[in-house]
């Protein structure tokens, strides 16, 4: 049996590595960067002039949209000075719409395609000018809205509905759902509420323990979770956030759906853009005042009066089908958690997964993955997981297909 200090050493190494990454990225975050890009470079296209020629007739010279009597269509025009709207999407998505027209991302066909009038450099210059309309730099840019992993909390505040379902591959059966609602407010903040519920086999029955047929399944409510997150620092490549989640003791621990214990889990989260459309997420935190922890049914132990620490790391890369097509984001997630009291073993999991955008607007997504226990695999079940994500700020669930 491993000594408690040794059991914690692996996690400490991960924490240390995460702190190094945090320190280096926070140093870069302290340096303000021009969001207008390299527009001032000599010989660069004049984004303002191009905007005036190609965009101002409809979007207005000030970005607020032309008056209704100056255009011949009824579709509402966005206010490009509204940071809540203008900051959310990355340059690449704006340029795609400018290049190929609104329908390429499921928007109105009134938005024309300028790809045969302006080259990529000119479109980027126009984009840089559009970015000057939102003058509040507190809003993190949409580039930092990286693909969402199955377990790790993103640093970027979001407006989303996420339905996650997990099922045990072996051992006591459990199918647990979590319906998550996230809402941004202000430039940096997000609140969320999660409602877990599901079906689980009673692991105490002899048939289940012996791997026999399920004999006692029940339906129950899990631990309802309320959370808050705030983006503390960000630039064009990195975002760093603090958050906390409160789990209410509403779960059915006998059924294995939740721990039925009150928990507070503060955390730090980092999102980092890497070259070549790659990215990483890091999240580290602790479960304070917790008395046993279950992320999903059938995977945790029934300890009491323990405190937990966890560390999540994700590496992924986004691939695009064709020039304007579906986005595929394979990710590998490493999960580490340990109880700081009670001598529990540090648990490690590996979660390969693939997120894919489902619709043309790319605000409805699916992620499918498998959670493989790397430790205590004989008593901890492999899990299949899938989530369905709707970024509701970008449009209705049935819009943009």
């Amino acid at each position: 049996m491993t000594a408690p200090d040794d059991r914690l050493s692996g996690l400490r190494v991960c924490f240390a590595a995460g702190l190094v990454v945090l320190a280096s990225t926070l140093a870069s975050l302290s340096t303000p960067q021009s969001l207008a890009g390299a527009q001032a470079a000599q010989g660069a296209p004049d984004g303002m002039a191009l905007y005036e020629a190609g965009c101002a007739s409809c979007h207005g010279s000030d970005g607020r949209g032309a008056a209704a009597d100056r255009i011949a269509f009824d579709d509402p025009l966005p206010d490009l000075t509204d940071c809540s709207f203008a900051s959310r999407e990355p340059d690449a998505d704006w340029i795609i719409v400018s290049k190929a027209g609104g329908p390429v991302r499921g928007f109105s066909d009134v938005m024309p395609a300028f790809g045969e009038a302006f080259d990529d450099n000119q479109l980027q210059a126009v984009m840089d000018h559009i970015r000057t309309f939102c003058t509040d730099r507190a809003w993190p840019r949409g580039e930092l809205n990286l693909p969402r992993p199955l377990f790790t909390e993103k640093a970027y505040p979001e407006d989303e509905w996420v339905w996650t379902t997990s099922a045990n591959a072996e051992g006591p059966g459990a199918i647990v759902n979590e319906l998550l609602y996230e809402k941004r407010f202000g430039s940096r903040n997000q609140v969320e509420i999660a409602l877990p519920f599901g079906f689980a086999e009673d692991s105490s029955t002899p048939a289940s323990r012996d791997g026999g047929p399920a004999s006692d399944w029940g339906i129950g409510l899990g631990d309802i979770e309320i959370g808050y997150k705030r983006a503390l620092l960000h630039n064009l490549q990195t975002i760093f956030s603090f958050g906390t989640e409160v789990k209410l003791p509403t779960g059915d621990s006998e059924r294995g759906i939740g721990s039925a214990e009150f928990q507070i889990e503060p955390f730090l989260a980092l999102g980092q853009i890497l070259p070549g459309d790659a990215f990483i997420h890091l999240q580290a935190g602790g479960g304070l005042l917790s008395r046993g922890h279950r992320e999903f049914a059938g995977t945790a132990e029934h300890d009491e009066d323990v405190r937990e620490a966890f560390f999540h790391a994700v590496f992924g890369r986004t691939f695009t089908s064709g020039e304007f097509g579906r986005s595929w984001s394979p990710m590998v997630e490493v999960l580490g958690s340990t109880h700081l009291t009670g001598g529990a073993r540090t648990q490690w999991d590996l979660v390969p997964q693939m997120q894919v955008t489902l619709n043309t607007r790319q605000h409805v997504m699916l992620n499918v993955g498998v959670r493989f226990p790397l430790t205590d695999a004989d008593v901890r079940s492999t899990q299949f997981l899938v989530y369905f994500l709707w970024d509701w700020f970008d449009g209705g669930l049935f819009d943009g297909w």
């Binding site: 191009l50 020629a53 190609g54 007739s57 409809c58 009597d69 100056r70 255009i71 011949a72 269509f73 027209g101 609104g102 066909d109 009134v110 938005m111 024309p112 395609a113 300028f114 045969e116 009038a117 302006f118």
Partner: protein, 253 residues
């Protein structure tokens, strides 16, 4: 005008006949070459015809170009938006005239057709192309136009053309009559694109006249299509040695 493709060696004869007057004209040269007792193998030149409008054309609305100073400055006089353009003799412009049951189609021409934007107006108001034939869409104005093309059977598109001289080339793969073209910035700018699988068509000019290529003898359905007046058609029997006249008439009712 578009639609004058593949007329072969009879173009000069056809044009000469147009000068004489509207009507179906027998191409004597061809008939002489093949004249044998009982044989009807000649070809007919549809040398001319006219589409007319009976009654008083609808009054047009004044075009307000004040929202775009460039457009306003291109015209000394106030323009009227006239969806039905009729000359003093009743000739109706911008009408697609086509043979519905035309002979088998030949190869589409490589020559480009042109839809221009000049003085914040489409020129011409209607353009017809063959399936697969390149259509150049050009902005000759120093102001932003968008060209929103809304077909029913072909893929649609919407081009932003912000600078003078910008042009794009498109083609259509499915026959379709009456594809709507409009500018969402200048609401008075509308046009029609017609896509046909054969060469037996034309767009009427300012005086309502049209010219179709040669046709072999037979019975043909001739159809005239106007974007606001709809369709009129007439069945015409083309036989060697006859010159049937053809006048297609729309009415305000």
């Amino acid at each position: 005008m578009a639609g004058r493709w593949g007329r072969g060696p009879f173009l000069s004869c056809a044009l000469a006949t147009v000068a004489v007057g509207a009507g179906w004209t027998f191409d004597e040269r061809t008939a002489a070459e093949v004249a044998e007792p009982g044989a009807v193998t000649g070809r007919i030149v549809v040398a001319g015809g006219q589409v007319r409008f009976a009654g008083d054309p609808p009054a047009g609305a004044e075009i307000d170009m004040s929202a775009d100073a460039y457009c306003r400055d291109q015209h000394d006089e106030t323009l009227m938006d006239r969806p039905v353009r009729v000359d003093p003799d009743g000739g109706l412009a911008d009408v697609l005239v086509r043979i519905v049951n035309a002979p088998a189609a030949g190869t589409a021409p490589d020559a480009e057709a042109l839809l221009d934007q000049e003085g914040c107006l489409y020129t011409p108001r209607a353009v017809a192309v063959r399936v697969g034939q390149p259509l150049v869409i050009r902005n000759s104005d120093a102001t932003l136009h968008n060209v929103r093309v809304v077909p029913a059977s072909n893929p649609g598109f919407n081009l932003g053309q912000p600078l003078r001289g910008i042009q794009s080339t498109r083609s259509f793969e499915t026959p379709e009559v009456g594809i709507q073209v409009r500018c969402d910035i200048h609401g008075w700018m509308t046009a029609s694109i017609h896509v046909l699988e054969h060469e037996f068509f034309d767009i009427t000019g300012e005086d309502g006249t049209f010219t179709l290529p040669t046709l072999p003898p037979g019975d043909y359905d001739v159809e005239a299509w106007h974007p606001t007046l709809g369709t009129v058609s007439e069945r015409v029997s083309v036989t060697a040695g006859e010159t049937p006249s053809l006048t297609l008439e729309f009415s305000s009712g």
